[in-house]
């Protein structure tokens, strides 16, 4: 999966995985789009919702104002979408559109993306870009994007199946039986 995420990240839409795998793949995936400072997150239950950037505490860059706040700003957008009121959903869209507008200008690139904009200045252009109109999707309640066909992914899986067939064992038949040794 890590290979496919690097080779054909456009082929994926929703993916579900276990806790630790999700931890690892979230880091890899953030690397595809500019780093942890660009990756928002939501932790949702049936009763509560928590929203946070994926960046971690990063104490070595704390203080001089070089941290990238985009993931936090997008996490705020996710929070507004999750609050699930027509106006907060509209607010989520406004924020994401403003972030897109702001990031289209390379002058507003954070230090971790090779730019010079400090954290304490980055919220300002987002605020400035906040006004009217609709924006692209960020969260499930937004309109779906056009389907991206995943030919590379399917091709890659087929070739892997072919390789495992050489060993007279399909992927499915390699699942160990409950009574067999499971350590590998």
């Amino acid at each position: 999966m890590a290979l496919f995420l690097v080779h054909c990240p456009h082929a994926f839409d929703a993916m579900v995985t276990e806790n630790m795998f999700g931890d690892i793949l979230s880091d890899l995936a953030a690397g595809l789009i500019g780093g942890m400072g660009m990756a928002p997150s939501a932790d949702l239950g049936d009763d509560y919702g928590l929203f946070q950037p994926s960046c971690g505490a990063a104490p070595t860059v704390a203080g001089p104002g070089i941290a990238n706040p985009i993931a936090t700003i997008l996490s705020v957008a996710m929070m507004l979408a999750w609050l699930d009121h027509p106006e907060t959903i509209r607010g989520a869209r406004l924020i994401e559109r403003a972030v897109g507008t702001m990031l289209a200008d390379p002058a507003h690139r954070a230090v971790d993306l090779g730019g010079k904009t400090s954290a304490t200045r980055m919220g300002d252009p987002v605020c400035a870009a906040l006004s009217g109109k609709s924006c692209a999707s960020l969260f499930p309640c937004f309109p779906p994007l056009p389907h991206v066909p995943p030919p590379m992914l399917h091709g890659a899986i087929s070739s892997m199946d072919a390789i495992s067939a050489v060993g007279k064992s399909s992927a499915a038949s390699r699942v160990p039986k409950p009574t067999s040794k499971t350590a590998r």
């Binding site: 456009h10 839409d13 929703a14 995936a29 997150s41 932790d43 509560y48 928590l50 704390a62």
Partner: protein, 219 residues
């Protein structure tokens, strides 16, 4: 007027800096919304709170967070502040488990071609990167992390736990999300090696049957 109270947890390291920018944007968007008002309830959590008062996530703070409409967190944990076992304090993981926040939603979207180390993605002619990782947050390999271990052993283990309830609900959330997007859902597992993952795949397949309009992959 729709009034929302947001628990704001700046936390450690860069947490307070990035949260301040997030709140700045939230206040700005608030002025454009009709009849929506936000109140911020600032809470002290994390390694810094532990150094001050001996608990990174006081029960009274958790209770205040639960009384709010949503929680906004910066970051928690510092490499220099650890439990006697040697592991860092991770109250963000404790919160997920205590509030049963099983559905970890991680959107990954490329905004500008220069942000990606890959060539040919983003921009006018490039391929888009726009997917969402749904991470099960409350079991898996983290499930037994707080279980006390016998002293004096020359090995240690962690347990990969997949329950039917946990697997069903996270797969269902992933399919619901896929249905609202491009209707494609990928299971990431290791079902060819690990029995726990074989169970996860079986349950994924069962849930998939509830969503016949969603295409699936297992990788």
């Amino acid at each position: 007027m729709n009034h929302y109270t947001i628990a704001v947890l700046g936390g450690d390291g860069i947490g307070p800096e990035v949260v301040a920018e997030g709140l700045k944007v939230l206040r700005a968007v608030e002025t454009q919304l009709k009849s929506v008002h936000f109140t911020f309830e600032h809470c002290s959590v994390g390694a810094g709170e532990y150094l001050k008062n001996g608990d990174p996530l006081p029960a009274s703070t958790l209770a205040r967070m639960q009384a709010c409409d949503a929680i906004l967190l910066g970051a928690m944990g510092l490499p220099s502040v650890r439990w006697p076992t040697g592991v860092e304090m991770t109250p963000q993981i404790d919160i997920r488990e205590k509030l049963d926040l099983y559905n970890g939603v991680r959107p990954i979207k490329l905004y500008h071609e220069t942000h990606s180390p890959l060539k040919g993605f983003g921009g006018a002619g490039g391929k888009p990167i726009d997917f969402v990782i749904i991470r099960e947050n409350c079991e898996g390999l983290f499930s037994e992390r707080l279980t006390p271990r016998p002293a004096g052993r020359d090995f240690e283990t962690d347990t990969m736990k997949i329950t039917r309830r946990g697997a069903e609900r996270i797969c269902r959330e992933a399919f619901k999300l896929a249905r609202s997007r491009r209707k494609h859902c990928t299971l990431v597992d290791k079902a060819n090696v690990l029995p726990s993952m074989a169970v996860l795949r079986k349950i994924f397949d069962e849930v998939a049957a509830e969503f016949p309009d969603v295409q699936t992959d297992r990788v």
